[in-house]
Amino acid sequence: MQAFTTLTAIAAPLPLANVDTDKIIPARFLKTIKRTGLGVHLFDTLRYDAAGAERADFVLNQPPYRSAEILIAHENFGCGSSREHAPWALLDFGIRCIIAPDFADIFHANCFKNGILPVRLPRAVCDALMEDARLGGNARLTIDLARQVVVRPSGEEIGFEIDPFRKHLLLNGLDDIGQTMQHVDAIDAFEAARERQQGWMPAITLG
């Protein structure tokens, strides 16, 4: 997993509430067996018309925002299914950070697992950042995870809260597995003790 330290990038404003996982990536694209390549289907129904042509008025189809790495949205971002295709599609498009007043729980957890930083900020702050984002390529936002601040183009810094454990993982590019692997001795010991106490526990082996 790619570490997240500081990110200075173009931010795309998406002033919508309750953006559900089906809006992020419609269910018909979920039958994939890969976690990469979903970026072209990101926000499919908002981004393309019925004939498959780009809608010029959708933010990610506009020149500066095609390379956006930050997304700013309204309340309850990521509600709906627990499938991880939503963060995979965002990441594949290039989004590394989402700023919103709040997120659906499972989506929020899934972001961290995939190296995306979800930042919760009050609605008024999100709206102010959206105004910055509307300046397009002339106005980059900086996210400094170590210091837990969003830096506006004006230089103003806005602090945000984050779970210290999640922060540690993101800063070090540790996925959960990498983190757990650091405790492999404890797992070995636990397994050995269980084996002794529960010798009756059968193994699954097929002849």
Binding site: K31, T32, I33, R83, T180, V184, F190, P202, I204, T205
Partner: protein, 470 residues
Amino acid sequence: MPAAQPRTLFDKIWDSHVVERLEDGTCILYIDRHLVHEVTSPQAFEGLRLAGRGVRRHDATIAVADHNVPTSDRRAGIGEPESRVQVETLERNVAAFGVPYFPVLDDRQGIVHIIGPEQGISLPGMTIVCGDSHTSTHGALGALAFGIGTSEVEHVLATQTLLQKPARNMRVDVSGTLGFGCTAKDIVLAIIGRIGTAGGTGHVIEYAGEAIRALDMAGRMTVCNMSIEAGARAGLIAPDQTTFDWIAGRPFAPAGAALERAIAAWRDLPSDPGAVYDRHVALEAGAIAPMVTWGTSPEAVLPITGSVPDPDQAADEADRARLRRMLDYMGLTAGQRLEDLAVDVVFIGSCTNGRIEDIRAAAQIARGRHVAAGVRALVVPGSGLVKREAEREGLDRILTEAGFEWREAGCSMCLGMHEDKLTPGQRCASTSNRNFEGRQGPGGRTHLLSPAMAAAAAVTGRLTDVRQLG
């Protein structure tokens, strides 16, 4: 010495599986059994491959394809390309990573939540996970069983552990005895009707009380299966003699002296007297009637004798709008009697009600009757072994003579894949667990009910109070 704090069944299983408690309260939780299927595993195996990791415990992992397998004759293979790719990918992955696998044409193939208990792979006191929310089914054995996401599937494959925080304890007591014609499905639908689809959020529900104890294992699995529809992380029922008798002799269960030792350990699992629950709900079994859902959420449920509610009577505008949308989608009008609703399709199967006991219940109603004109009725066994047993008992003949279709094992019309799906506007009496918009096919209208109620609907052509069929 102070007495040990009384603990719940959940607390005991949890405590015995904590490998390490991290600073923020997250625990590294050891996982005893990992069930893998074709839908949520491909990206997990891809992740292992990309990171150069392997599977830690092959002997604690079992794979099977269920969601994408056709339930018609499948010796010719899977026609639908995307379904075929998912199943073939699973087959490649289990071969490459050395994971035990029940092939599509093996009798042991079936819905992952049916075959885990059936094979004795799921046992009391275990932690059991699967990339599927209805993993809660296995809680019927007194195991802590819950669904996980694809990243977590990868995490378990690589480490045999998960990072988890403990859930809260909730207890649902169902006292008394069920009335004639009422089943485990009616109990769980009544519970969801009472507490709502968010009623169990953040909790593990332990089902207890005389009516739960009286259930056979199939019924207990039906109840635990739908815990997720009540918003809970998992459902649990304390293991007892019914559980132990059911486990004995299953292929992967311990046998002989090992089983004796296992049972001795399992007897310590039930919650201690005085154990504290964060939430408590009580129901009287005698007050439960055969239930049927009328809306697009499992909590939109009523006794079969009821009528479609009137949105105008709802508490606030948001509720009114929600109810109107449900009625509109379901093609219903306020005040319509549920028993007057004609059905187009009947589906008997799924991990909720695809066990041999469910097929027996359906066959009992079907015997000597015939599926109503214009109704398509499918019976889909939950596993190849359930199918074989039903055929041994002659249930397939009773059902086919009554005009039911008798199919191969799989998830089938529970989630409307390939040919087993509703067409827009079709009304279906279904023994599955979800009635969301489009769940059984775009525009399909689902009414959840018990196998006996489903069979009754098939033979009368409308939602029917099974008690009237005797």
